[in-house]
Each structure stands twice: as structure tokens, then as C-alpha cells.
């Protein structure tokens, strides 16, 4: 059996990759994928312990992630249509 530690280390690595991708990538879809990556990294940590609490939580996270994907993709489509671009640097209307 694979020790729990390994799962946790993998989870941390995936989460770190997600963060780095989120901060350094300019494409909105890539950033969105980075968020999904972080969510799933957390999911991995939840199931790694093999306890019912954590596994139920994973289902919740999946549901929330689905809802978030629906809203997020909607926003991305609107941004793409209005800006004719997926570059996040250009989404700066909130700037003073």
C-alpha cells in the first residue's frame, strides 16, 4: 500500500503548480484550469486519509467546482466576446 505521505506530497506539488500557473499565466482559460488543478489537489488530500468525512467533502467540492465552472466559463465567454482577447492583462476596467 502506498503510504499516505506520498499522496499528500503529490497533493502539495499539484497545488503548488496550480498556484504558480495561476499567477504567471496570462491566458484566462489556463488560469481557470489552474484553479481546477488546485481544487483537485485538495480533493486528493481529502481522499488520501481514507476516512468517510473527507470523501464526502470531495463530493461537495466537485459539486461546487461544477457550479463554479459554469459561472466562470460564462464570464470567460463574455470577456472573450467583448475584448476579442483572452489576455487577463487587458481585463482592467476596475482600475481607478
Amino acid at each position: 500500500m502506498v503510504p499516505t505521505n506520498y499522496y499528500l506530497v503529490l497533493s502539495a506539488i499539484l497545488f503548488g503548480l496550480g498556484i504558480v500557473a495561476f499567477v504567471f499565466k496570462r491566458n484566462i482559460i489556463t488560469m481557470f484550469m489552474a484553479i481546477e488543478l488546485m481544487l483537485n489537489a485538495v480533493n486528493l488530500a481529502f481522499v488520501a486519509f481514507g476516512k468517510p468525512d473527507g470523501q464526502v467533502f470531495v463530493l461537495f467540492v466537485v459539486v461546487v467546482a461544477a457550479a463554479e465552472a459554469a459561472v466562470g466559463l460564462g464570464i470567460i465567454i463574455m470577456t472573450a466576446r467583448n475584448r476579442r482577447s483572452l489576455n487577463v492583462e487587458r481585463v482592467d476596467l476596475m482600475k481607478l
Binding site: F22, M31, V88, K95
Partner: protein, 651 residues
């Protein structure tokens, strides 16, 4: 229905009248306003009479009842408690009776004035507070009435509020009274600290059990007495706080009669008489009361000698007569003081109302140097005023003779310089007689000093003359309770109030009687001197002349107003304007508020640059925040590892 069990009805009726007229009266014709105002005070007077009858039927047992709790905190309780004893009987009858007569008079006097409903609303409100004041059975409730009558006084002095001098006079009365009230409140606090209660019964029982302060000793009782007396000097216009009363004559004349002569200004005398147990346990305070009263009597009377405004003469006369009442209280003759309070209420109300009638007849003229020869034109007013004058001057058998005689007799008999007090009081009596007959001669006799083409002199309507006649009758017979003393009999008034005051002033014996008779003779002689001098000086052809020397000083009221202006008001205004306004208010208070606003604004200006609108920079902030939070949470866990690392070297 036994009214005595429902004493609250007596003050409540005028309050209802006031509320109805004040809230609804603006759109009503004068007739309805009149009937509400007169109805409420009239019924209140009838209720008072009935209550007094029940009081007598019950055998004059002091009655007191708790109606409801007002303030309850721990053991401390202040209730809406009303009481009825002999002193209250006198006060309630004077307030409701004279008050009702003055209400009737006002109907005629105020008929053509604007704000008719407002006037009666205030006047009824005054009746309410005054009745609360005299019926209250504890200090805080008395203080409610005390402040309430002050408020009504302010409102009514400033009744013609468009007139600068009237609104100034109102403010002056209010502010000067605050000084006295400050002392009164301190007195109450001191009594509360000493006796843990402010009910009259508890406090006075407690005082009675205590050892009286010695002469010249400033114990708790003396200080409490002096503080209460400070309140009394404000409300009752004694030295040095009398300055508001002459200015209060800016109000309509019925107000001067009711509030500034007959009732409110006597509240101070009432409080001293009510707290007589306290004062008799503090001889020093009594001495102060006597001296202040005596000094005020002569001081105000001397100013009254040369005034030209008919109402100002009466105002100074009122201050002087109040001085007599305090003189009586100060020498322990509380009964005589209250007796004078009652007779004074009759004849001074009469004098003021007659003066109002004269002013009415002259079309608003108040300067006596522009009157003269009015006796034949306004006969009723003349005779009524003459009755009042004889009464205040103290001729037998008018009311003022008996009450003033009792006071001077008590002063003469008192220890600690009684003869001096008596002498000064007698001099004030000469002055009183002089300035009153001077007023009569200047107003009613001699040649006409006004323009007959411009002033149409006319007698006042019935509603004004009838109250005058009733008051004239009272000024004649009001003192007859004490008449038997002339032939060695009882003073029924003194007997009546003696259960309240004890028999401190009963000085029997044949020697005392003959002394009193001879003092009476001297007093009448004094009044006659004043009369003759006034007659010699002011009958025939007179003119105002010039004000020089002593006459100028008296005419300018010893320059006391100017002195107060220079010593107190001026520096206070300077301090307020230059320190409290320009430095404290503008600098500190406004500066703090504005400074906070400026600080927030500039901080915002700086920080807003972090809001770049760039999503990725926000993400970085989120991550930094998360790292910081994690660091804080896990800091205790890391620390041992850190120690291990530093102590154990690199592994």
C-alpha cells in the same frame, strides 16, 4: 368624591387646560380659549376649596399620599407624593384664588393682543407647576415645580418675543435663576447624602433629631440651609440675584401680577418656611437670611424712590416686600413671613393689575411723568389702586399693616442685632409709603402731562375692574385674621399655621402686648411720614427735573447692572468668544473632527493604488495573505524545530 384623596386633580386641571389651548387653541376663537382657560383654573380653585374644607373637617391632620413612584433606585425612592398641611392650605388658596382672578383680568387685558391662546396656555401651565411646587411632599417634586415655574416665567416675560428687550429680559431671568437653582440642587444632594432620602417627612425628622449647629459653625445643616437659601435668592429676587425681576416687567402686566408679584417669586419664601426645621437648626443660616432679607428690603425700596416707570416702581416694591418676608423667616417668625406672603399676594396683585388698567387706559404709556390727573377719569382703577397703596404702606386696618407689623415686631424681639434689623425695616417702611404715594400723586393727581388729542383715556372693561374690586376687598380684610392682637387677642393666622412651625413666635404677656401696640403706632407713624413727604413733594405742579447726585445713582439702580456687566457678563463673553469659541471649539473640537476626515482621505489616496484592477496582482495578494495566516497558525509548531536546528547544528 373626596378631593383630598385625589389631590392630583388640583394641579392636573390647569395642565389639561394648558395642553388643550396650546395644541388646539390656535384655530379657535378667543371665546373658546377663554372658557377652557378660565374653566380649568376655576374648577381647580373650587377643588382646592373643597380639599381645604375636607382638611378642616378631618381636624387639620396633615395629609400626605403617595400616588405613584417616579424614581426608584435601590433604597432611594422619589414618588409623586402630594401633601396638605396648614402651610399648603395658605399657598394653594393664594395660588388658585389670586391666579383665577388674574385669569379673569387677563381676558380683558389681552383681548386685543396676538397670541391669545398662547398666553393662556402658558398661564395655565404656570398654575400647574406652581401647584406642584406647593403640594409636593419631597424635594425633587418640589424642584419640578420650581423649574417649571421658571420656564413659564421665561416664556411669559418673553411673550412679546419680537421685541428685543423682552426676549433679552426672558433670558436674563432664566440665566440668573440657574445660578440659584445650582445652589438649590447642591443643597438637595447634601441633604440626600446626609439622610438617604429627600422626602420632607424623613429629612425633617432626621434634622429634628440632630444637634443644632452653633452660631458661626458651618456644619452640614448650615451649609444645606445656605444652599437652599441660594436657590431662594434666585427665585425670590433677593440680593445679589434680584437683577432679573425689574427686567421681567417686559412681560404682559397680568404676568407681572401673577408670577412676578403674587406667586412665583414667593416660592423662595415658601421653601424656607417649608424647611423651617432645617433653618432653625442652623442659626448662622438664619442670620444670613435675616440680613439678606433686610438689606434687600431697604436696597430695593431706595431704588423704587425715583423710578419713573410705573411697573418698575412696583417691581422694586415687590423685591423690597420679599425682603421683608425673608427678614421674618430669618428671625424665626415663619408664620409672620407666610402671613405677609398672603397679604402681599393680595395687594401687590391688586397694584399690578391696577397699574395694568392705568396703562390700558393710557394706551400703553408706562412713564408716570406722562400721566397725571387720571383720578377723575378712571375712578374704579383709582380707588382700587388707592386701596392697594394704603395696604402696602401699612395703615390700619388694611392687610399690610397687620403682616408688616408682625414682621417688624418679630425683628425687634430677635437676638443678634434685632434692633438694627427693626430700624432698617422701619426705614424701608417709610420708603415704601413714600414711593407708593408718589406713584399715586404722579399718576392720578396734578395736571395732565400727556397730549389729550393723542391719548383717549378710558376706564377698563368689566372683566378687568371686577377682579380689581375683589382684590381691593381682600387687601382690606385679608389681614383681619391678626386683628384681635390690637386689643390683646389671638392672632388667628399665627394660630392656624403654628402646627407647622411650632410655637416659636408666640410671645405672650402683657409687656409684649403693649410693646407690640407701641411698635404698631411707630409703624403707622412711619407710613404717615412717607405719605406727608410724598404729598409735599409731588402734589401740585411737578416736573421730572434732572437726575443728579444721589438721585442719579438711585435712578440708575446703584449701577448694579453695569457692575455685573463689567465684572461677570463681560469677562464671561470675552472668555467664551476668544477661548471657548475660537480656540476650544474651532481649534480643538472642529480640528479633531476635520483632522480625522483629512487623515482618512489622505490614507485612502495612498492605499487606493493597490487596487490596480489587475486580477493576477489580486491573486498574489490572496496568496501572500494565505501564507501569512498559515505562518501565524503554524508558528508554535515550527518553533521547536527551529530551536533544534539552531542548537543541534545542520543535520
Amino acid at each position: 368624591m373626596p378631593i383630598l384623596e385625589h389631590l392630583w386633580i388640583i394641579p392636573l386641571l390647569p395642565l389639561l387646560g394648558s395642553a388643550i389651548n396650546g395644541l388646539l387653541g390656535a384655530k379657535w376663537p378667543n371665546k373658546i380659549v377663554t372658557s377652557v382657560a378660565l374653566g380649568s383654573t376655576g374648577i381647580s380653585f373650587v377643588c382646592a376649596l373643597e380639599a381645604v374644607r375636607e382638611f378642616f373637617v378631618s381636624g387639620q391632620v396633615p395629609f400626605s399620599k403617595e400616588f405613584f413612584d417616579w424614581i426608584v433606585a435601590g433604597n432611594f425612592r422619589v414618588g409623586f407624593d402630594l401633601q396638605m398641611d396648614q402651610l399648603t392650605v395658605v399657598m394653594v388658596l393664594v395660588v388658585t384664588g389670586v391666579g383665577f382672578l388674574i385669569h379673569i383680568y387677563s381676558v380683558g387685558y389681552m383681548a386685543h393682543e396676538g397670541g391669545y391662546y398662547r398666553f393662556f396656555s402658558y398661564l395655565n401651565l404656570f398654575m400647574f407647576f406652581m401647584l406642584i411646587l406647593v403640594l409636593a411632599a419631597n424635594f425633587p417634586l418640589l424642584f419640578v415645580g420650581w423649574e417649571g415655574v421658571g420656564l413659564c416665567s421665561y416664556l411669559l416675560i418673553g411673550f412679546y418675543f419680537l421685541k428685543q428687550s423682552a426676549s433679552d429680559a426672558g433670558k436674563k431671568a432664566f440665566i440668573v435663576n440657574r445660578i440659584g437653582d445650582f445652589g438649590f440642587m447642591l443643597g438637595m444632594f447634601l441633604l440626600f447624602r446626609t439622610f438617604q432620602s429627600l422626602d420632607f417627612a424623613t429629612v425633617f425628622d432626621g434634622v429634628a433629631k440632630m444637634q443644632p449647629d452653633a452660631m458661626g459653625q458651618f456644619g452640614t445643616l448650615t451649609i444645606a440651609s445656605l444652599l437652599l437659601f441660594m436657590g431662594a435668592t434666585g427665585k425670590s429676587a433677593q440680593l445679589p440675584l434680584y437683577v432679573w425681576l425689574p427686567d421681567a416687567m417686559e412681560g404682559p402686566t397680568p404676568v407681572s401680577a401673577l408670577i412676578h408679584a403674587a406667586t412665583m417669586v414667593t416660592a423662595g419664601v415658601y421653601v424656607v418656611a417649608r424647611a423651617h426645621v432645617l433653618f432653625t437648626h442652623a442659626p448662622t443660616a438664619m442670620y444670613v437670611v435675616a440680613i439678606i432679607g433686610c438689606a434687600t428690603a431697604i436696597f430695593a425700596a431706595s431704588i423704587g424712590l425715583v423710578q419713573s416707570d410705573i411697573k418698575k416702581v412696583l417691581a422694586y416694591s415687590t423685591i423690597s416686600q420679599l425682603g421683608y418676608m425673608f427678614l421674618a423667616c430669618g428671625v424665626g417668625a415663619f408664620g409672620a413671613g407666610i402671613f405677609h406672603l398672603m397679604t402681599h399676594a393680595f395687594f401687590k396683585a391688586l397694584l399690578f393689575l391696577s397699574a395694568g388698567s392705568v396703562i390700558h387706559a393710557m394706551g400703553g404709556e408706562q412713564d408716570m411723568w406722562r400721566m397725571g390727573g387720571l383720578a377723575s377719569k378712571i375712578r374704579v382703577t383709582f380707588w382700587c389702586m388707592l386701596f392697594g397703596t394704603i395696604a402696602i404702606a401699612g395703615f390700619v386696618p388694611f392687610a399690610g399693616f397687620f403682616s408688616k407689623d408682625a414682621i417688624l415686631f418679630a425683628a425687634y424681639q430677635s437676638e443678634n442685632g434685632g434692633r438694627t434689623l427693626y430700624g432698617v425695616g422701619l426705614l424701608a417702611a417709610i420708603f415704601t409709603s413714600f414711593y407708593m404715594f408718589r406713584l399715586i400723586w404722579l399718576t392720578f393727581f396734578g395736571e395732565k402731562r400727556y397730549d389729550e388729542h393723542q391719548v383717549h383715556v378710558h376706564e377698563s372693561p368689566r372683566s378687568m375692574t371686577v377682579p380689581l374690586m375683589i382684590l381691593a376687598l381682600l387687601s382690606l380684610v385679608g389681614g383681619w385674621f391678626a386683628a384681635p392682637t390690637l386689643w390683646g387677642g389671638q392672632n388667628y393666622f399665627a394660630d392656624f399655621v403654628s402646627p407647622v412651625f411650632g410655637n416659636s413666635e408666640a410671645a405672650g404677656g402683657e409687656a409684649a402686648h403693649s410693646l407690640e401696640l407701641s411698635l404698631s403706632f411707630v409703624a403707622v407713624l412711619a407710613a404717615t411720614i412717607g405719605l406727608i413727604v410724598a404729598w409735599r413733594m409731588y402734589s401740585g405742579k411737578v416736573n421730572e427735573g434732572t437726575y443728579t447726585g444721589l438721585r442719579k445713582i438711585l435712578y440708575h439702580k446703584y449701577y448694579v447692572d453695569e457692575l455685573y456687566q463689567a465684572v461677570i457678563v463681560g469677562p464671561l463673553v470675552w472668555l467664551s468668544r476668544n477661548i471657548f469659541w475660537k480656540i476650544v471649539d474651532v481649534g480643538v473640537i472642529d480640528g479633531t473632527v476635520n483632522g480625522i476626515a483629512h487623515g482618512t482621505q489622505s490614507a485612502g489616496d495612498t492605499v487606493r493604488h493597490t487596487q490596480s484592477g489587475n486580477v493576477r496582482s489580486y491573486a498574489v495578494w490572496v496568496i501572500i495573505g494565505a501564507i501569512v495566516i498559515l505562518a501565524i497558525i503554524f508558528w508554535p509548531l515550527w518553533r521547536p524545530a527551529f530551536f533544534v536546528a539552531s542548537s543541534g547544528g545542520v543535520r
